[in-house]
């Protein structure tokens, strides 16, 4: 059965609902849940198609899963599909987070809440460090001096020199691409 058969082609409502479901489970990042919902539960895309599309979204700038919602929605229902998927993904999280933001404004100075947030921030920093290390593994495995150099240059310019991101990327990205000899 071809994945683009009518049977598995979602409607606007289904796109909205599907991404809504993903958004509600997405603690610490939405991508694993996106895969589960789109490939395993709803069968909109085959595993390879999903990986392809995700690869494209990671290749592009902007929030990964946000771009994915647009790509998936557009694939099945054009612009309306992209909008439905996007709204499904963002509607509830944005509402929740605004409510939390309002609570923070009110009670942010309450000692207990500050302490809880401090604990969460410490854990979250660790989670991001883990993500950086995971992403670094394939780079380091290839023992590329170039990759390590640009990694450290980027890290240093941002954290030690406090240079603006646009400047760092404008200078380092073309250099890194020019020097890149191996395939991704």
């Amino acid at each position: 059965m071809k994945p683009s058969d009518r049977a598995t082609r979602p409607t606007l409502a289904e796109l909205f609902a599907g991404f809504l479901t993903i958004s509600l489970q997405a603690f610490g990042g939405a991508l694993p849940w996106a895969r589960r919902e789109i490939v395993e539960k709803r069968g909109w895309l085959g595993a390879d198609e999903f990986t392809d599309l995700l690869g494209l979204c990671q290749f592009l700038p902007g929030p990964n899963v946000g771009n994915l919602s647009v790509a998936v929605g557009a694939r099945f229902r054009g612009v309306p599909g992209a909008i439905a998927a996007f709204l499904g993904l963002y509607a509830i999280p944005v509402a929740i987070v605004i409510a939390l933001g309002a609570l923070y404004d009110r009670y942010g100075n309450v000692a207990l809440l500050r302490d809880a947030l401090g604990g969460i921030a410490a854990v979250a920093a660790g989670l991001i460090a883990a993500m950086a290390l995971k992403m670094a593994q394939p780079l380091l495995a290839r023992r590329s001096l170039r990759a390590l150099a640009f990694l450290l240059l980027t890290l240093g310019s941002i954290t030690l020199l406090h240079l603006p991101l646009a400047l760092v990327m404008a200078v380092l990205t073309p250099l890194s691409i020019l020097l890149a000899k191996e395939a991704a």
Binding site: Y90, I92, V97, A122
Partner: protein
């Protein structure tokens, strides 16, 4: 600075950041920090980290930090417009590229582009971790919590929600 100016500046900056955010919102957090805390002084480092923590604890994509920054700086309009400003440029690009994807596939330059960009993206995410750890880890126990969380996240597939909850509990108990 008038509220309208603040909102405009915020949205403009986030829209620009959207196009640099290879690897997602996490990669541009250092720049958001630099802009919002160091350049414009719209909030303190502690407040930024607090808002980041809230964004992590809530369900949904990581981009929510942008919503919170917008809320804190310019209320409801700020929250919504900042989110849209950050998401739409990338989304439009994604839409356009998916249409021509079939034709661009397997172009040799893509592999090179990805290979070139990869270490920079990782460097940016490492920078994010460093900056956040810097503000969150004021005590030895906080550093330990960060290190342990990183280890657990690296070596297990435990749902990060448990780790975040543990962090909140440890914080409230006064351990961190």
């Amino acid at each position: 600075m008038k509220p309208g100016d603040v909102l405009g500046l915020l949205c403009l900056h986030f829209a620009g950041l959207s196009l640099l955010a290879f690897g997602g919102a996490s990669a541009v957090i250092p720049e958001m920090f630099r802009f919002v805390v160091e350049t414009e002084h719209w909030m303190s480092a502690r407040e930024f980290t607090d808002l980041f923590a809230i964004g992590q604890a809530a369900p949904g994509p990581n981009v929510l930090i942008v919503t919170l920054l917008g809320w804190h700086v310019a209320g409801l309009a700020g929250a919504l417009l900042a989110t849209l400003a950050f998401s739409i440029p990338g989304a439009v690009l994604a839409y356009g590229v998916t249409r021509v994807w079939q034709r661009l596939r397997n172009a040799a330059w893509q592999a090179r582009f990805k290979a070139g960009l990869a270490p920079i993206t990782v460097g940016l995410i490492a920078a994010t971790a460093t900056i956040l750890a810097g503000t969150a880890n004021q005590t030895l126990t906080a550093m330990a919590v960060t290190a342990v969380s990183a280890c657990i996240a690296l070596h297990t597939s435990l749902n990060p929600l448990w780790l975040l909850a543990a962090g909140a509990a440890l914080g409230m108990l006064g351990v961190v």
